[in-house]
């Protein structure tokens, strides 16, 4: 228990203060400089620049076909950029073949060698470096212990479960202690429970090995959990690069707000904006909408108000002295998820908003039910005003 606690504190200490991207003096480990990748007429990556720092757990997130895998494969050396430069620790790696890059990859399919035992799979990369037999054996044993597969060393991949195979793939890819570990959808093939556990194990591993991890995923929850920073990609471009909380709470555009998590998006007209905040108007509600944010737009412009379902309150009675930030409607549908319920409220204009509410009590005297008339309110800091 004590050791556990000490470990948590270390992770906490590192995680709390780790933000090299905010330090202008820090030199990035990996730099993508104006990288373009075309496959024939198709542009997979479009003039992309990105810095990734040492010891960072970096997530590349986006829908399939957005170019995230191509970006990773260029770093591994399987694809060459059409133009632009990729540097690793200051060195241009464009001409270096994959087998000479200090970068290892964990493949989505795991790509374990079916004719080799677990032991030989993990030893494969070490053998290429012509290490001594004793050094290889020591490292393999260490890796087997790390992924808790010591007793499975002699098995062939087809004699393992999916979770065990995933661990072998992970052990094989970190065995050479690469400068950067690339993880291509590493957890997609696992079931939900195992995936959740493995996410935290990955974070621990990254912390204890002190490596830079680059994970590619289409699963936003996975990216949010493991990554220090996330780059959201769409159609070959970076849409936003920021820590998970910033991506979620301060999305840069409607695309991001919509892509990450659930969001209610209201099209509104900007009435006034200033240093203290802004006021929006919508025909959907008679109340004015007042927010803490100052918006870079002019009065009369169309802007969008994005509010997460968990940031709104729902009540059966009209709240006392409400003058702003209130929507009314009837319950159109309820999603009961156990820990929380999601209420779909239909406003008189027909637009529906989602409000989630934790089920803090087991027994509620008068639960909110279908067809109820409800009042939905939110505070001035609950929503984000987006101009694009």
């Amino acid at each position: 228990m004590a050791a556990d606690k000490a470990r948590t504190q270390t992770i906490g200490a590192v995680r709390r203060t780790f933000a090299p991207w905010a330090d202008p003096a820090a030199t990035p480990l990996i730099r993508f400089e104006n990288v373009v990748k075309r496959f024939g007429a198709f542009v997979a990556v479009e003039n992309l620049s990105l810095d990734i720092y040492e010891r960072e757990f970096f997530g590349l997130l986006g829908p399939s076909g957005c170019g995230k895998t191509t970006l990773m494969r260029m770093l591994a050396g399987f694809e060459q950029p059409t133009s632009g430069r990729i540097t690793l620790a200051g060195e241009d790696i464009s001409g270096i073949p994959p087998y000479r890059r200090p970068v290892n990859m964990m493949f989505q399919s795991y790509a374990l060698f079916p004719h080799m035992s677990v032991w030989d799979n993990i030893a494969f990369g070490l053998k290429q470096d012509h290490l001594s037999k004793a050094a290889i054996a020591a490292r393999v044993e260490e890796m087997l212990a790390l992924v808790k597969l010591t007793t499975f060393a002699k098995r062939k991949p087809h004699q393992l479960s999916g979770g065990q195979r995933q661990r072998v793939a992970l052990a094989r890819s970190v065995a050479k202690r690469p400068k950067v570990l690339l993880l291509d959808e590493p957890l997609t093939a696992l079931d939900k429970k195992l995936r959740d556990e493995t996410q935290f194990e990955l974070m621990d591993l990254q912390m204890s090995l002190g490596m830079t991890f680059l994970i590619v995923t289409h699963d936003q929850e996975e990216a949010m959990t493991v990554a220090d920073r996330i780059a959201v990609m769409n159609q070959g471009k970076l849409v936003q690069v920021a820590p998970p909380a910033v991506i979620y709470e301060q999305p840069a555009s409607r695309y991001i707000a919509d892509f990450i998590g659930d969001v209610n998006m209201l099209e509104t007209t900007l009435v006034a904006t200033g240093a203290g905040g802004c006021e929006l108007a919508s025909p959907k509600t008679p109340y004015p909408l007042r927010l803490d944010q100052s918006v870079e737009a002019h009065a009369g412009d169309t802007v969008w108000l994005a509010i997460r379902p968990e940031k709104m309150r729902i009540a059966l009675e009209p709240p006392a002295d409400i003058t702003a930030n209130c929507l009314t409607g009837v319950i159109w549908d309820i999603g009961y998820l156990g820990d929380l319920s999601i209420y779909h409220v239909e406003m008189p204009c027909g637009t529906r908003v989602k409000v989630s509410k934790p089920n803090v009590s087991r027994l509620v005297e008068r639960p909110i039910t279908w067809e109820d008339k409800v009042w939905v309110t939110f505070s001035p800091d609950a929503g984000v005003v987006l101009t694009s």
Partner: protein, 305 residues
């Protein structure tokens, strides 16, 4: 189980068809050949004795059994005759041919498996295309190519590379050329099917772990194609051991192969019984690689599960 009993007849019939086929067209002829190999030559019709007579009853059957002997096997396996040398020479020629087939077939199969997906069916077609022409005609064509006044010698002469024709026809070299040419599809197709299903990400993973592509071929591609190598080698080796047409047409008088010896024993010496013994021994000789092949296949099935 009751269900199986009710539904079983149709299913049993379907399963029985291949068994009946094997019984009628393999086991029964084999038993006839086995019986002849245990008989003695006679100048009669049929040219061997004893002849099984079902009408003679149990006593007749016992009499029939008592007349069978393994004398023919002693004759065939005696060092005074050329059969043992012919078996050995056949195994050697088949073995060398199989090795040559592997050397020629592997690069072809590899190139096919690595070709763009769109043209692979066409390449497959090209490999199978020679089967459209009769095997015999194709072997005769090689006589036209290899003979002293054939195309090859004319070409080399025209190019000024030779001053007198090369003697290729009627040598062991011509036999090797004939076998490699004729059996190539049987080597290429299993190799192609093994290489084609090889997961390309395995090679990427090997390269990612520091293994250059040429080395990855020997550590990843080749070991994973071994089932195809085994299938192709046995598909070529087994019929090549018993090959008759190619050594007869392309080989020389000193080319010793068991197929030719059998033919001589049957047609020139007119000994049905000794040639039957040669055939049975050849079969026993080939059962060994077949059993090895089946073991390999069983192991592959096991691994695939």
């Amino acid at each position: 189980m009751a269900m199986a009993g009710e539904k079983g007849w149709g299913r049993r019939f379907v399963i029985a068809v291949p068994y009946l086929w094997l019984l009628a067209l393999f086991l029964v002829p084999f038993l006839i050949v086995l019986k002849i190999s245990l008989s003695q030559d006679m100048i009669a019709q049929p040219p061997y004795a004893p002849v099984f007579d079902a009408a003679a009853g149990w006593a007749g059957f016992k009499d029939f059994l008592s007349q069978l002997s393994i004398a023919n096997y002693f004759y065939v396996l005696s060092f005074d005759n050329e059969f043992i040398a012919a078996y050995g020479s056949s195994l050697l020629i088949a073995g060398i041919s199989t090795a040559l087939l592997l050397l020629v077939g592997y690069p072809i199969a590899y190139a096919m498996a690595r070709a763009p997906k769109g043209i692979q069916p066409m390449l497959l077609m090209l490999v199978i295309l020679p089967f459209w022409t009769s095997f015999l005609i194709r072997v005769y064509a090689w006589i036209g190519i290899l003979s002293p006044e054939g195309f090859l010698n004319q070409l080399l002469d025209a190019l000024g590379l030779i001053s007198e024709p090369l003697q290729i026809l009627n040598t062991d070299l011509a036999v090797y050329i004939g076998i490699v040419y004729s059996y190539l599809p049987f080597m290429v197709l299993p190799l192609y099917s093994a290489l084609e299903k090889l997961d390309g990400t395995l090679l990427e993973a090997a390269e990612d772990l520091g293994c250059p592509p040429a080395k990855a071929f020997w550590t990843i591609t080749f070991p994973l194609s071994l089932p195809g190598v085994a299938a192709g080698a046995l598909l070529c080796f087994i019929p090549a051991v018993g090959e008759f047409v190619i050594p007869d047409l392309l080989g020389g008088s000193d080319t010793l192969m068991i197929g030719k010896s059998l033919w001589t024993e049957f047609t020139v010496n007119r000994s049905w019984t000794a040639s039957a013994a040669v055939a049975v021994l050849l079969l026993l000789l080939l059962v060994v690689p077949i059993v090895i092949y089946q073991n390999l296949q069983a192991r592959e099935l096991e691994a695939g599960r």
